[in-house]
């Protein structure tokens, strides 16, 4: 997030898109809802599903799935046409404005309506509301990124914010909501194939030399493979050994049967987790880790806030922390290292990572700090890009609308879109083992528009089968107008109806994010015998 949660309620207008916030980021939803109910903030919701948040919206737009660039460009065009752009900001802080102007010019309200289904008048209302607010913030999540055009979608979002000068001040910004408690931190720490901690490129000679010196070894300068690329490489036999810590790709990655095949081909699969997950069942060696309440460490939340988490209980049996295991393993392989505790690990990391340089366990004991925090006196950064962008001037990136990779056709007439529900989390390995949550919702469903259901002769709760070109799953129908006609929604929490057997592994060429939000499926009633 460019801004912090503290200034969320200062926004006069919040534009939420591609985030079912009440179910995925409930406490941020709580902040938004109360900001709206107190009368200080107006809300625009843009989502194909009529999510609960729409109830709080002054304007609700319902685009067809996968048409984000079209409505975002359309809004930019309207803002320009109505003279609502922030010319001073564009002039002093940005470049390539002319290119943006040219690119969005084709996105007339008529065309946008045709592509997205959003009525002209509604788009205009939203554009006016967003652009005329003294400060307006955009919040988005995977509904924007999990597309083959994910990177383009994000660029189109950023264009809108720059066009209206809604960057670098309180109550503004471009704010992606991160899904897992430390997905931000894992990225910050360089658990990515192309960067060291703090996003220092592995291909950068200076950065590499710094890490080589600190770690005392030569380091490879070619970026490595992403998760899905690793799976493909494993299937080809190029990746021979994998070490998977605390993740469950069999359920989380698209096209599960392909993932299982790839993992089965490995010479060596090591899985480290707290439960015997679907992925761990395929492993050659399973190492028992500890739960987060059983260890000391830090996590970085969606607003870049680094916080300490304390050990509440002793771990069971012979389990060992990930930290302990990795260090032991390094030593056995022949790379000697030791740390007296996680604080020392952070010390080493901070000494190599400018954006975390001023952060230490000692300081965090007094409260969280938002990076960048370049030195021990620095109090952290609440708002990014206040005076200038990381690269100096902010560049407009004109983008064009491109259709999703797999559209419905005669054989597979429905769009399947996936996500989470409030009461469960990810693959369910934790929530389905927490009694009250598991008892409350014990299995999944496919959410179908009642009209579609009627046409197909499917009743509430009826067993149905969803099939795509890649596989099929059985589940039960939940009739709800939350899903528009032609769209079905499923969560991926339930192994026995693993929706990722259906999803399309086609991915965004830059972000390498799979298109979970759109795959073509058909729906058949299952006759109960």
């Amino acid at each position: 997030m460019t801004n912090s949660l503290e200034d969320l309620a200062r926004a006069d207008v919040i534009l939420l898109t591609g985030t079912n916030t009440i179910e995925n980021h409930p406490v941020i939803a709580q902040m938004i809802k109360t900001a709206v109910l107190s009368g200080g903030t107006k809300l625009i919701v843009v989502d194909p599903r009529d999510i609960s948040m729409a109830r709080y919206a002054a304007v609700y737009l319902r685009p067809r799935p996968g048409t984000d660039v079209a409505w975002l460009n359309g809004m930019a065009r309207l803002i320009l046409a109505e003279g609502l752009a922030d010319e001073k900001f564009i002039e002093s802080r940005t470049e390539d404005f002319e290119e943006l102007k040219r690119a969005v010019d084709a996105y007339t309200p008529e065309l946008v309506q045709k592509i997205t289904g959003i009525p002209h008048a509604d788009l205009k209302k939203a554009a006016r509301l967003y652009a005329s607010a003294p400060s307006a913030a955009i919040y988005y999540a995977m509904g924007i990124t999990q597309h083959t055009t994910g990177t383009d979608n994000v660029k189109a979002v950023a264009n809108l914010a720059m066009l209206t000068g809604n960057i670098g001040r309180q109550g503004t910004g471009v704010n992606p909501l991160r899904g897992q408690n430390n997905v931000q931190g894992a990225c910050d720490m360089g658990a990515l194939p192309n960067v060291f901690p703090g996003y220092q490129p592995v291909s950068d000679d200076g950065a590499r030399r710094k890490f080589e010196k600190a770690w005392g070894v030569k380091l490879p300068g070619e970026p490595g493979l992403t998760v899905l690329e690793m799976m493909n490489a494993a299937a080809r036999g190029d990746i021979r050994a994998m070490y998977i810590v605390g993740e469950n790709p069999v359920l989380t990655d698209p096209d599960s049967s392909h993932v299982v095949e790839a993992l089965e081909k490995l010479d060596l699969l090591i899985v480290q987790d707290i439960f015997l997950t679907e992925t761990a069942k395929l492993a050659d060696v399973v190492l028992p880790g500890v739960a987060s309440v059983e260890k000391e460490g830090t996590f970085t939340n969606t607003e870049r806030l680094v916080q300490r988490s304390r050990k509440a209980v002793e771990p069971p049996g012979e389990t060992r922390s990930d930290m302990d295991i990795v260090i032991d393993l390094s030593n056995r392989i022949g790379y000697k290292q030791s740390y007296s505790g996680p604080d020392k690990v952070m010390e080493e990391m901070a000494s190599l990572t400018p954006s975390y340089a001023g952060i230490s366990f000692g300081r965090l004991a007094r409260g969280g700090i938002r990076w960048p925090c370049p030195d021990k006196k620095h109090r952290g950064t609440r708002i990014l890009h206040a005076k200038e962008f990381t690269r100096g001037k902010g560049r407009f990136h004109p983008v064009e609308y491109i259709e999703p990779a797999e559209l419905p056709d005669r054989e597979y007439p429905f769009i399947l879109t996936t996500g989470r529900m409030l009461y469960h989390y990810h693959t369910g390995s934790m929530t389905r083992r927490s009694r009250a949550l598991a008892e409350y919702i014990s299995d999944g469903w496919a959410e179908i528009n009642p009209r579609d259901a009627k046409r197909l002769g499917i009743r509430e709760g009826a067993p149905i089968r969803l099939s795509s070109r890649r596989g099929s799953v059985e589940t039960k129908a939940k009739l709800s107008a939350r899903s528009p006609e032609g769209v079905v929604f499923m969560s991926f929490h339930f192994a026995e109806q693993a929706v990722n057997r259906l999803t399309n592994p086609a991915m965004d060429k830059d972000g390498k994010i799979p298109e979970f939000k759109i795959s073509a499926v058909k729906i058949d009633p299952v006759s109960s015998t």
Binding site: I28, A186, A191, A241, E247, V285, L329, M346
Partner: protein, 350 residues
Amino acid sequence: MAGISIKVNGRSVSAYPGTSVLEAARKIGIEIPTLCHHPELAPTGYCGVCVVEDLGSGRLITACDTPADHGMDISTDSPRVTEARRRILSLILSDHPETCVICEKGNACRLRELSSNLGLAFTSAQRLGHLRGVVDANPFIHRDLSKCIGCQLCVRACREIQGAEAVEFTWTGLKGRPLVTGDQEMSGSACELCGLCVSLCPVGALIEKPTAHTGVEEQSVSVICPYCGVGCTLSVRVRDNEVIGVQAGVPGSVNGPSLCVKGRYGLGYVQHGERLTKPLVREGDELVEASWDEALDKVAEGFKKTMKTHGTDSVGILASAKATNEENYLLQKFARAVIGTNNVDHCARL
């Protein structure tokens, strides 16, 4: 801004205009008892327990929703105040079931605390019949509305803090009780089962089911929630090395008094019987228990062999969006420095 000065129990205090008598008194360390007051909610004066006397005018006023005014001479414990407070509490008690012995709220009950501070006993109140019942509609929240004292903290919190507007107060007088929108079961309403209302209920009318009958904690430890990226702080209640519950409200936390249903009620997995406790090593079709030495040697040998025969880029490592920063740092260091590959990623995109 010009301050307003008043006297509380003979001591002077000055406050900004708009400050309530309650807050003004708190500034000099004088606590006025309250039942329906919460610092994050607009004051209402519903319960009347915060009654004080303005000695100048002789008026009895509720301290939580009366702004301090020039020249006020407040007594928080004059005989009239004590008498009024006792009367108010007796009335509440007269409609409260005498189930304290088995009530899950136990000594955390504000009504019990206030009553005993004022020397009130149940038996001194004339009993009234209970007109409200028990609602037990979901695995999270047990509602025994016979114990409801009508303070409306739940209704106000759900609207003003949670923004869900799932509870409203219906009927009046003795039949008054909090309903969940349209009197549906909680699960069918706008209720998000966040548990905020339960955490604020001053009596045993709203009780957390997952943690009921687990007793009192030995200590509370601040843990960052293991679920989504909001980064809420869970104050984890621990007893006998077990998690017995979760509370919000850790000062300086992102979430203040709020949590969601997963953070508040979703730590059960930690003690689940299926936790892996020993390393497992594959023997044919089966995974069998092994010692750490056996397992780690097997892993180390396996890596070395793969690196030697197929090169370092034949190894791939998935770090974790659930692991700590320190662990992720070590994992990418392991990939790069120990193995010698940049094939390291995690499920950021999934």
